[in-house]
Symmetry: C2
Subunit: 257 residues, 2 copies
């Protein structure tokens, strides 16, 4: 890192007015100069989607000495992309996303817009962290996550992250003194068992609402993020961009192709 | 596998009328009974996004003995989810997605709706393969990809895939006899360097179109999918669900958290 004050790009997936976004800004402002790029609307479940067929509009809503704040009509990954390409004054030292209202542990990392934005920061070769609180409520209490966030940001700035790797941080919905510590974990194996609720509209047409419950394939395994969270730890999972299964490469090389 | 004829779920991200979808159906029908669930519109760049805030509508457009065909107003991952939860007659033996009009090699696996659908099939614990052709044209020639697809489907049904792993198959835009073979590869390191083109509307408002060029970080490395494709091979990359960086877990355990 240079001697300059860190420059930090922030985004989220719950819309620019989300309390979780305000929480992340409140901590990050102690570390450096901020640029916030957020979506007009909530973009939960948008994963790493990008907007290709409609143009983006950018609206600047704050222009303070240490905080520029932009709102766009795009996805969380779009926020990071257009922020990096059009809005930053220099390459950021850190990308922070969240705080998400709700868990992004286990395979939710695949569906999450908050983690999509963090992954995009990582692809752009900036140390990136996504934060999530295990409470969906729009008025959730973010004091535990902000308390521990400072140390995690400080250590990330001090140590850096491996290229092509970002952090998925999930925080249980408990008070600060109930937290047993911070655990470095692996991503839990599991699946969202989707259930669709079928309804019929006044004109006789059927429609389906997505609902669903998480099925943890390894609920008792102590090195997983879901176990840590269920046992009052903050869970940090380092996630890599490379999706290759090297073991399966070896298997398939024996196929008759 | 049981003695029953394989039951195959098919989806894509270029809309239900795409030529690439017709290409995959034309090959898959030789292997078993098909259920196709596709999107009304093109959904390129939708990644693993799911629809949470609006309900899904399902329209059945074909109901033949060996082919049911449904169209929905959702993303490719939605297609697989609602297909599995509401539309299949039994658990499919295979999920096939594509054929995508355009490459999904390297880190495009992150942005691709076609690969989002394949990943969802894998999460639902079904062997899943996404196919892509390196030609964006809506009238592209799919004869090379269909030629090699048969063998890949046959071998996947015969050998199965490791749990939590799916295949990303990319095919160069060349004739059958120009293909040098099939290569089992790893995901190339690279990034889409986004460039936004800024325009001004008749009312003076600015808007931005996403464009961009792929930057290959390792263009000369022979075990990568981009190298294989550039050298006239079909590239198969096995992709795993687990994103954990175990090496970085060890590093972070030494942080002062």
């Amino acid at each position: 890192m240079s001697n300059k004050k860190p420059y930090i790009l922030i985004s989220n997936d719950d819309g620019y007015q989300a309390k979780g976004l305000a929480a992340i800004i409140s901590v990050a402002k102690n570390f450096g100069k901020l640029i916030v790029v957020s979506s007009e609307r909530g973009e939960s479940g948008m994963s790493h989607a990008i907007t290709m067929k409609t143009p983006l509009r950018v609206r600047k809503i704050k222009d303070e000495e240490n905080l520029s704040f932009y709102v766009i009509n795009g996805t969380p990954a779009d926020c990071v992309k257009i922020g990096m390409n059009q809005l930053v004054e220099r390459k950021p030292d850190l990308v922070l996303t969240g705080v998400n209202h709700g868990s992004n542990a286990s395979i939710s990392v695949v569906y999450s817009g908050t983690l999509g934005a963090a992954r995009e920061g990582c692809l752009q070769q900036i140390p990136s962290i996504g934060f999530s609180l295990l409470n969906h409520d729009k008025d959730a209490d973010f004091s535990t996550v902000t308390h521990f966030m400072s140390k995690i940001i400080e250590q990330t700035l001090a140590n850096g992250l491996e290229d092509q790797t970002f952090l998925n941080v999930n925080v249980p919905d408990i008070s600060i003194n109930e937290v047993k510590g911070v655990k470095i974990c692996r991503q839990t194996k599991g699946v969202w068992k989707e259930e669709y609720i079928k309804r019929t509209d006044p004109n006789g047409g059927d429609y389906y609402w997505l609902t669903g419950a998480f099925d943890n394939f390894e609920p008792k395994v102590e090195d997983t993020d879901e176990w840590a969270l269920a046992n009052n730890y903050i869970a940090i999972v380092p996630i890599q961009i490379d999706g290759t299964s090297y073991a399966e490469m070896d298997n398939i090389k024996n196929w008759n192709l």
